[in-house]
């Protein structure tokens, strides 16, 4: 086998892994869009906020300490504890649930019946609010996130592929963990949606708000639940991306990576987010590997959107999205 083919296989596998990470971000968008028709522009910032909160809780940071110190002249920064990751994650999920309740109570409850574009604009406002609120709460320094996930080259894959091809493939342990977690997350979400009372209620709301209301389903409860689920997915994405780069503002920009995934996979399909993520991940990595050197490189962001655009032209609802037919 030629070197190019072997290297191409390594790039392909890494593209799949990158795609899983993109899909993790896209999942949060899908959940909220499916249940409420809201394109949540704040999903990336929610991943940042969740990861900041996790680090803050684990390290025992005092929230709003800079503000408190500036007003009262105190010098408090830490509670003095260091919590294990599992407790940190549980508390953070509780915070994200509280956030979901606030979003519903103070924003979307007042916007019921408004045009989708108004709801979208509200999420833009929410994103900017949450950016500033997160900075004020936890500070804007880059925070190291360590929840015990392995990182670095997987030696087993390296040695095995070296035995086969005379060249060891690089696969990051963190990406493997992300793949397993994404698979578990999708399976759990599908089971939840199909076999639990709340999950069925969520699907009913997604299908028809009015009909769901008429059979006694509480829209408020479902939307809080969906935003909580999206907050949890954001936390998982924040952990994966934050472990790679530290928790910092740029985490909020990972939403840009999810957009082509959504365009390709469809805004309403959980499996679509996964398949879309994989196609985008592999597509952009292979394009960079094969064509990048000929055009000066840095093609990945560009190619992801071009690929999504091509799919849009031929299948506007995405691969797995629901075809919307409006009769006049």
């Amino acid at each position: 086998m030629s070197d190019t083919f072997i290297f191409g296989m390594e790039v392909f596998l890494n593209g799949l892994m990158a795609g899983v990470l993109y899909a993790l971000v896209a999942l949060g968008f899908v959940l909220i869009y499916k249940a409420s028709g809201i394109f949540n522009y704040a999903q990336g910032v929610m991943a940042l906020f969740a990861a900041m909160t996790l680090v803050g809780i684990m390290e025992g940071r005092v929230p709003f300490s800079h503000l408190i110190n500036a007003i009262f002249g105190t010098h408090i920064h830490h509670f003095g504890w260091h919590l294990p990751a599992v407790f940190g994650i549980l508390f953070t999920v509780a915070v994200m649930a509280g956030f979901a309740w606030c979003v519903q109570k103070f924003i979307f409850r007042h916007l019921v019946g408004q045009e989708p574009i108004i709801l979208f604009m509200a999420t833009i406002g929410l994103a900017y609010f949450l950016e500033g609120f997160g900075d004020l709460m936890w500070g804007s320094d880059i925070k190291k996130l360590d929840v015990g996930l392995p990182q670095g080259i997987n030696l087993l894959i390296d040695e095995t592929t070296f035995g086969w091809f005379g060249y060891g493939f690089f696969i990051d342990n963190l990406d493997l963990v992300a793949t397993v977690i994404a698979a578990l997350l999708v399976i759990s979400l599908i089971i939840f949606a199909q076999y639990t009372k709340q999950g069925r209620a969520m699907r009913a709301v997604a299908d028809d708000h009015q009909a769901a209301l008429s059979v006694g389903i509480s829209l408020n409860f479902i939307w809080v639940m969906v935003w909580t689920l999206a907050g949890f997915v954001a936390l998982v994405a924040g952990i994966m991306w934050g472990t790679k780069s530290g928790v910092q503002f740029s985490l909020s920009l990972i939403a840009l990576k999810a957009l082509p995934v959504l365009m390709l996979g469809g805004f309403t399909s959980i499996p679509g987010a996964i398949v879309g993520g994989l196609i985008i991940g592999v597509g952009e990595k292979m394009f960079e590997f094969l064509v990048g050197p000929l055009v000066g490189g840095a093609t990945e962001n560009w190619f992801a959107y071009v690929l999504a655009l091509l799919f849009l032209v031929f299948r506007p609802q995405g691969l797995f999205g629901e075809k919307i037919i409006e009769r006049v």
């Binding site: 890494n14 190291k144 996130l145 670095g152 690089f170 780069s245 910092q248 740029s250």
Partner: protein, 426 residues
């Protein structure tokens, strides 16, 4: 009656002429994707002027007033900050952004206000004959590129022929700055240069580091900023690239760039045009007069960090230029035009830095009408993950003046021709 008297005194005080002060705008970014780098610089910059006010009563007896304006590292906001503060009598601007610098070069020249772009901005502004109001001492990007190659030459017995060097760079005007210099030096020293651009913001770099793993370059240079730095260092650690062969520009060499990778970042190197750490007498005064007195610009938790030191150093250079201007013109309350004269006549010596409590904090250099870039001396710092400290591991050494001089001349001449700029020095 008493009330009336109080009101009268208040009115008189309000109507009194405002005391003269030296206005220094600080175009900072404490929010947004680059806040982690902007905060320590802004803190160091303001804290030094606070120290001068508290300890010395200002500069030449005139207090310094720092006006902070948040740019968010956004060029449009940076220009707005300039327009909204220049009327206050601003003496010098430090935009802390190459994008803002490019916008302000014609504006500051027209308004007769000097601008200092230390280690960033338009590199060919070192030619003071063309760029009358822009200064980029003590070093620029091309000095950085040459400094890295000189360091590698020294480490490899003066011979890089046949070696492979990869440049991982932010795919922007900033990131592309060193390419021309590195290509020229490649012809001169015989190394093979490969270019690996990373798209903004740089959160995903798997393709670039897989290529590095395949190509096995001997050395990797990095021109990164923001999240790109942390991800690159983590990816280098993941593919087990030897950290001692990985050198970043000075904007890729702060504590927050290496800390997320933990122990794996041990040995990573970064270029430097000023010293690191807090083992300098000036920090005793910073603590006494600024931090402990509750007058620090930020939370006081950045003191001694690389980028805090950079802000402190920039403020020191501005303060010394003010002193020089006061000496030249014989007035304490100087104008921006006088400040420009002071910057053009600035001389930083080891004796001067020692007297300021900053011995060997930066290289010695002189500025002149023709040379706004200083001598362009560059050092190398290395990260020790165990003690979580940077250490300067080389002296501030000369860079390739022949190659850089020719590039500066070519670029600045083209700018002068495009903009019909007459010689500033003849």
């Amino acid at each position: 009656m008493k009330k009336l008297a109080t009101l009268a005194v208040g009115a008189v005080m309000a109507a009194s002429p405002v005391l003269a002060d030296l206005v220094i705008p600080s175009l900072s970014y404490r929010t947004g994707p680059y806040a982690a780098g902007g905060i320590p610089f802004a803190d160091g910059y303001e804290d030094y002027f606070t120290l001068l006010n508290e300890r010395d009563g200002g500069i030449g007896g005139v207090p310094v007033r720092v006006i902070e304006c948040e740019t968010g590292y956004n060029t449009e906001k940076g220009v707005e900050c300039y327009e909204s503060t220049k009327g206050e009598g601003a003496l010098v601007y430090q935009p802390l952004s190459t994008g803002i610098t490019y916008q302000l070069i014609p504006k500051t020249t027209a308004d007769d206000i000097p601008m200092h772009t230390m280690g960033y901005g338009r590199t060919s502004a070192a030619n003071g004959d063309v760029f009358s109001h822009t200064f980029n001492y003590p070093g620029n990007y091309w000095n950085g590129a040459s400094g890295a190659i000189n360091y590698l030459l020294a480490e490899n017995g003066g011979d890089l022929s046949g070696k492979k060097i990869a440049l991982v760079y932010h795919n922007s005007a900033y990131g592309k700055e060193p390419i021309r210099t590195l290509e020229e030096l490649s012809s001169k020293h015989g190394y093979e240069l490969s270019l690996l651009p990373v798209d903004h913001p740089g959160q995903e770099q798997k393709s670039q580091w897989l290529q590095i793993r395949r190509d096995r370059p001997d050395f990797v240079l990095m021109w990164g900023w923001g999240v790109m730095n942390q991800v690159a260092i983590q990816e280098a650690a993941n593919i087990r690239f030897p950290m001692e062969n990985f050198i970043g520009i000075w904007w890729s060499g702060a504590e927050h760039d290496v800390l997320p990778a933990g122990d794996k970042s041990n040995g990573y190197k970064a270029l430097a045009f000023h010293n690191v750490g807090r083992d300098f007498p000036v920090f005793d005064d910073i603590n006494k007069y600024v931090v402990d007195a509750g007058k620090a610009a930020g939370a006081g938790d950045q003191v001694g960090n690389v980028l805090y030191n950079r802000g402190l150093y920039a403020a020191m250079l501005a303060a010394e230029a003010i002193k020089t201007a006061q000496g030249i013109h014989g007035v304490a309350d100087i104008t921006p035009g006088m400040m420009r004269d002071g910057m053009e006549a600035l001389s930083i010596t080891e004796e001067k830095m020692a007297s300021l409590g900053m011995p060997n904090f930066g290289p010695s250099f002189d500025v002149s009408c023709e040379n706004h870039g200083g001598e362009g001396l560059v050092g190398v710092a290395q990260w020790d993950a165990g003690s979580k400290t940077w250490s300067l591991i080389s002296d501030f050494a000369a860079t390739d003046g022949e190659v850089i001089g020719a590039l500066v001349e070519a670029d600045s001449s083209a700018y002068a021709a495009e903009n019909n700029i007459a010689s500033n020095c003849s």
